[in-house]
């Protein structure tokens, strides 16, 4: 309570240091503007790096086996899949690639004449077993069935092809909720009939809602040779590295004419996909720390200056009966007032900076709770920075009042 009675004398004292107080407030306001927006950017990156693709990521491994055109190869897709499935612990295998890895994107239409484009979708294409290997969750309808998918040898440019579609894409294309059983067209002429709806399947993770607009198609492969991405899914995530090594070796043995280029787990792919974004995030955090240190230096510099300047007044107050605690509280309250002023101004600056960043770097709108968090951080920082000088002030002995400076 006593603190409240001190506010008026504090304000009066601050009025005589208008310039320095204003500058300190300005510094705190600028710090708050940068702090709020930086944390927003970094947090957004971290959050994005945790968005799941919707597939069974911890159990999927990828083998890139590239066919050498013009070289005889004894392998066939049918045999490749059998070889992969024979590896211990493998529960599903397919000829096709995972999300976040060169997933093809195509426009989709509701009419065969391609008149009205409805957006661009990620197309997961592969052999029999693609959907099983991805392990995406079917929420409506049925999974693709090996007996119903078209054989790649019987493909015609106008035949109907069964597809799986993500819930998000279904809602976008069929707002009436009738995605299941619906027909869409990509840039080719095949009608694509939706037989099942999967929960999530993200082709890439950019933060945009159309990341989750995907379709899955399968073709039945037999005696054809094929190179590119192969995927396996294992029963137990702990067995993945071992199974992937064995699978890559088996696949290479079955395809002497292929180049076994890379093998990697979905977890490694994800780490690689986000490493550059997270690195930028780390750099921003470093800048942020520098900023906080500088602001703390400023606050504590001016505070110790004021303490030195007011040694006599402090001595007088002590001589007139103020306790050490009163002096300490005085400087803490003063700091709180200055930081509060800075924080109010800072909220305005933060929004202005956010508008600038939105225009220039397509950042999203800064939510208000970031400002509140920024204010709390600055209040704490201010109190921490003023503690040293304030303690020094409270240690000024009353006898100082009787000495001339």
């Amino acid at each position: 309570m006593r603190i409240l009675f001190q506010i008026r004398p504090i304000l009066a004292a601050l009025r005589s240091h208008k310039t320095a107080v204003m500058l300190l407030m300005l510094e705190i306001a600028l710090t708050m503007a940068v702090l709020g927006n930086l944390v927003f950017v970094v947090y957004g990156t971290v959050q994005r790096s945790r968005v799941p693709t919707g597939v069974d990521e911890s159990r999927i491994g990828v083998i890139q086996s590239i066919g050498v055109i013009g070289t005889a190869n004894s392998g066939t897709i049918e045999n490749d899949l059998a070889v992969l499935q024979a590896v211990p612990d493998v529960v599903a295998a397919t000829y096709g690639g995972p999300p976040l890895w060169f997933t093809q994107r195509d426009s989709v239409f509701l009419d065969p004449s391609h008149g009205h484009k409805l957006g661009r979708v990620y197309e997961f294409q592969g052999s029999q077993g693609l959907s099983r290997t991805l392990g995406a969750r079917i929420v409506h309808g049925v999974d693709l069935d090996d007996n119903e998918i078209p054989a790649v040898t019987r493909y015609t440019p106008t035949m109907e092809i069964p597809v799986l579609m993500t819930k998000a894409l279904g809602q976008h294309l069929f707002p009436d909720g009738r995605a299941l059983g619906g027909v869409i067209y990509d840039s080719g002429n095949n009608p694509l009939r939706v037989v099942g709806i999967v929960d999530h399947l993200r082709g890439s993770i950019t933060g945009s809602p159309d990341d989750d607009w995907s379709i899955v198609t399968e073709f039945m492969y037999g005696h054809q040779d094929g190179g590119g991405g192969f995927m396996i899914r294992v029963r137990d995530a702990a067995q993945l590295p071992e199974a992937l090594r064995a699978a890559a070796a088996a696949l290479q043995k079955a395809n002497p004419g292929h180049v076994s280029n890379k093998t990697f787990t979905m977890a490694e792919l994800r780490a690689d996909y986000f490493k550059s974004d997270l690195a930028s995030g780390r750099m921003l955090v470093a800048i942020l720390l520098i900023l906080l240190v500088v602001t703390a230096l400023g606050v504590s510099g001016l505070a110790s200056f004021w303490v030195q300047q007011r040694r006599r007044q402090i001595g007088m107050r002590r001589a007139l009966g103020a306790t050490r605690r009163d002096i300490l509280r005085y400087f803490q309250a003063e700091n709180f007032l200055i930081v509060s002023g800075g924080v109010l101004l800072g909220a305005v600056f933060a929004y202005a900076l956010n508008l600038f960043l939105m225009r220039r770097f397509e950042l999203a709108h800064l939510p208000a709770h970031y400002l509140l968090a920024g204010a709390v951080v600055l209040w704490l920082l201010g109190q921490l920075a003023v503690l040293g000088p304030a303690l020094r002030a409270s240690a000024v002995p009353p006898v100082v009042a009787t000495r001339s400076v």
Binding site: L23, L30, V41, V259, N261, S280, V294, G301
Partner: protein
Amino acid sequence: MFGYYLDLALRSLRRHMVLGVLMMLAIALGIGASVTMLAVLHNLSGNPLPGRSDVLFHPQVDPRPEDLPGAKDEPPDDLAYVDAVNLYRLGIAPRRAVMSGNWLPVRKDAPDSPLAMYTDRATTADFFAMFGVPFLYGSAWSAQDDAGHAQVVVLSRAMNQQLFGGGDSVGKTLVIATKTFRVAGVIDDWNPQPHFYDLNDGAFGKAEQMYLPFFTWLDLPQDYGYGPMDCWGNDPNAGAHDPKAKQCTWAQFWVQLDTPAQVADYRAALVQYSTQQHQLGRFQRAPNVRLRGLLDWLDHKHVIPVTVRMQTWIAFSVLLICLVNTVGLMVAKFLRKAGEIGVRRALGASRRDVFAQCLVEAGVVGVAGGLLGLPLAWLGLWMVRQQPVNFAASAHLDPSMLGVALALAVLSALGAGLWPAWRASRVAPALQVKSL
């Protein structure tokens, strides 16, 4: 006078050690952060081929249909096969090179040797001389090799190390996409940044591992992608990746033009070529050509990663905050000297003298802050280099940036000192002397 002010400044800083050190630290941190980002930005926007960039030009023509939905006025970056060959044969530029890149399966020319994928650049003979590529062994292939579809290859130093142990491998053979090639030369490490001649795979990153004659490369049994193949229209052979398709652009093309007259002539030739193609019915649009110089081209393509630009902005706002901080501390510091200033004024020093004295003090703080900031910037750049980003290699401090850092520090400190010094010079002497 300057010497005297310097002495006064040092004394004053020593007397109020804490304030002085805080100001120095603030400036040092601000300089450290901003110079780090400035150095990254400076190196990323650097000239990939100093001394040659002035004579290198990037021709573009526009083969797109009139009514392509969503098409901008800017012609495609790359050329369709037909235009690439036609412009290559035009032959009015002193040097020219058509090129593209992908990756190809390679093995040693020995039975049962393992296959591996290597990145390549398919180009024509002038590439090496035009871009000043340094050779370790052998030389580039000749124009006759281009015309005769010769199976020759130029290796990078690293690939020569991997396949032949690093020796002079000129004349040795290796198997690329099932065909036997003879090594014509081995180049030294060469990786201009930004990777100006083909920005489709990102502007910063690794160099190609080998170089093949363009027309030989097209003959290979291959479809390992043709770079950024961009097609339009309803083509029945769409998924076939036919590099010779008329409606697909994918080949890069560069010319060397030594004089302004040559540039003007070449531009005219591009327009004439477009007109001719228009008359033949292949080009639907009126002549729409570009002939940008190398640096203009990089500028046009905005090669600097957006994260770097954003970090630079942020680093400079940190510097701004450091300066506001310094202004505040200086105001406090000079205010403290009001008594001393009053005495100096009473003894005859003009406002100008007081102002100069305070500025010298600010300058001393700036120099000290800058000197302290340099190791911080060096540390910052070291941290950037540890990051897994493709421009990490560009993060180093060159001598010009050292100068920039010091100048920035002194200028910032002087800027921050201006207003506090002006205020100090306005101190009324009578009032101060009375209160002594």
